[in-house]
Symmetry: C2
Subunit: 408 residues, 2 copies
């Protein structure tokens, strides 16, 4: 696997553009991304589990459940089109129709995503006009991919992109991705959007199965603030233009693709946490020796989601008591007397708990580790041999500021 440039445009046949249409009411803040595939692509997606689903999520769910082919994605930022009732549904249809008209595809071939403030109708004329005037700018350069990745941001401080190349049947296969993370220009909620493009030829059901599997280990293992958005989605388009022999089963070629696909999604998931609202530190929690993978994941998620753990990291405090506490209320059964915890920055390491016994550690080395921007917590249980990794960030004054103070 080779890391390459080009983001979502690195797979053959994909082009994109990022534009300013005025949803955000701020000059120089892009808010419309258009992604196009020359060939109809199979699509796989996972959506928020929130019972309150934004209108575009409902639109996309219908396309995915019909196993319809997709040729375009329209993503707007600044307004989530969530809790907008019938008018929200209508606006989604209007976006699809506008894209359909100019791109000469069917409305049902358009995936739509919106992110931003909740409960306010979209400025639909601006968006439709924006699609009409900007679709001609679609291009397949690195810059065009960058523009799309920039246009989907809200309070993200940088755009998140990746592209990789693998070889399958002597054909070059590419996977590109872009994602946006936590925060909104008119702050509202953590909204995670991720879009993956690939030119691999693969069976739709197999791709959907792979995505479901991957999501559990990537996007579902991150937390910024514990709030599950109404708009979260990960969408993959595969247009088959790499001309590999179509992958229809979990064979060797599938596993080459899977490994690269996992890399792309892990990278984007971690980038979302890196750029978490107000985050000053990136925390990796490795759980080993759990009775099951599900247990390991629950323990990891519980730790990175705890406000008390998060504020302790912000305070650069090796507060393993809060970690034990978060494990204790995770819902997982385990023997606390067999738990070992150590902190590391990959240079120095401190043991703070060995088999349930607190270890007197060097406070200076602890502070040296905890002052770092990236901190690793390794936790070993003795319940079995399952493991998992979770990624989180600290909880800082700026998180409160971004989410509480936006009127000032």
């Amino acid at each position: 696997m080779k890391i390459i440039s080009g983001g979502i445009n690195s797979p053959k046949g994909f082009s994109s553009t990022g534009n300013f249409v005025g949803i955000k009411n701020k000059i120089s803040k892009m808010d419309l991304a258009i992604v196009f595939s020359d060939a109809p692509a199979i699509a796989a997606a996972v959506f928020t589990t929130n019972i309150v689903k934004a209108a575009p999520v409902l639109w996309n769910q219908a396309i995915i459940s019909d196993k319809g082919k997709v040729q375009a994605m329209i993503i707007t930022s600044g307004n989530a089109n969530a809790c907008t009732g019938e008018i929200g549904i209508k606006h989604t249809e209007m976006i699809a129709e506008q894209a359909s008209e100019v791109l000469k595809i069917k409305p049902k071939e358009v995936i739509i995503a919106s992110t931003g403030v909740i409960g306010v109708p979209l400025p639909i004329e601006k968006i439709c006009d924006g699609i009409k005037t900007n679709y001609l700018k679609l291009g397949n350069s690195e810059l065009d991919a960058y523009l799309a990745a920039e246009a989907i941001m809200t309070t993200d401080t940088y755009s998140k992109q990746i592209a990789v190349e693998i070889e399958i049947d002597n054909k070059k296969v590419h996977i590109g991705g872009m994602a946006k993370g936590s925060g909104m220009i008119h702050p509202n909620m953590a909204t995670m959007l991720s879009f993956i493009t690939t030119d691999i030829d693969i069976d739709q059901a197999l791709l959907q199965k792979l995505l479901n599997e991957i999501v559990i280990d990537t996007y579902n293992m991150i937390s910024v603030d514990g709030d599950t958005s109404t708009n979260d989605q990960v969408t993959v388009l595969a247009n088959g233009m790499a001309e590999n022999k179509k992958i229809t089963e979990e064979d060797g070629n599938y596993h080459i693709f899977k490994s690269a696909f996992l890399h792309v999604n892990t990278y984007l998931a971690k980038q979302i946490v890196h750029d978490g609202e107000g985050a000053t530190k990136f925390i990796t929690v490795n759980i080993e020796g759990a009775a099951s993978k599900n247990d390991a994941q629950k323990l990891g998620k519980s730790i990175i989601s705890s406000n008390l753990v998060k504020t302790a990291f912000f305070g650069e405090d090796a507060n393993w008591g809060r970690i034990m506490t978060a494990m204790g209320y995770s819902g997982v059964e385990f023997d606390p007397e067999l738990v070992s915890i150590h902190f590391t920055d990959n240079i120095s390491t401190i043991d703070v708990l060995i088999k349930g016994k607190p270890i007197a550690f060097d406070e200076e080395i602890a502070l040296e580790i905890l002052k770092k921007k990236e901190i690793i917590v390794n936790i070993t249980l003795q319940e079995g041999d399952a493991s998992a990794t979770a990624w989180g960030c600290d909880l800082s004054y700026d998180y409160v500021k971004i989410n509480g103070d936006y009127r000032t």
Copy 2:
């Protein structure tokens, strides 16, 4: 029901004291409370659901499951005696033995509670010496109750007490209570302790059943930061000295007692939130029209536990989108199109959502309500006729400061 003074000493036969024994290493910070009942009392209690349980929790659980009578409670603050392994168990026994010796009761008649930092052994000599030198100060005055309530505090900014009087069979029956809330002198975790004394004569199983029932509507409906402590407990001692005809079934007298008991526990639970770490606002969320009480409670808890809802209240923002989002991921099934939300301070009211439709509201009136220290959110669904109330606080810079910044 009459609100009276005297706290935990208002029921007949109870006395208490609060002392400084040096656990907290701070002059003038009390850290040992002793509560004594002249007559052996039946005891009921509920404990943390955290799988990591502090040594005193394990000690008390054994007493309660044996249905043993209790005559004293020893409560220390500054150190939680949690994650302390065998030495922690040993220390708990030593406290019980010391109390047993001076108070002339059995060790198993002593309920023990500790709150504070995790993973550090108790300064056991200081505590045993403290019991020996201070038990003689036990008194049944209002001041003695106040001293005990002060001695159980950690980062609480004020002590929390209540007492009520009711009449059963022409006998005066009293219920007193004290509680401590969220925070520690060496900040570690939200630790909730509540102690109720009463002179009613009541069957132990009935009292335990009542407590289990009451906890669901009181302590379980509050949240400061979503972290369930290793030390949480609510303990009730009933010594029967009111000489009422013993309550053995859910008759009229039981209901008189139940109503007063609910009042005492609701009051203490709400006080804990009022004094939540860094809290600047007290939020009441009323859910009506849910399919079941459990649904109503889950919805209310999900809202008051959301960091994004909490920061919005800190920012005085009528951000109902975050409320809908928190409801949406609560795990409860409901139709978002039938939800109505309004904010009130009991003077002004604004509708922000009526049957799923956002309502344009007067921003000035909204700000007038949201600037208040106590804000009520009323949410109506159309799924059934169950209701529940949850209480929470905002998430402020000071929460982050208290929990992250203690080294400075």
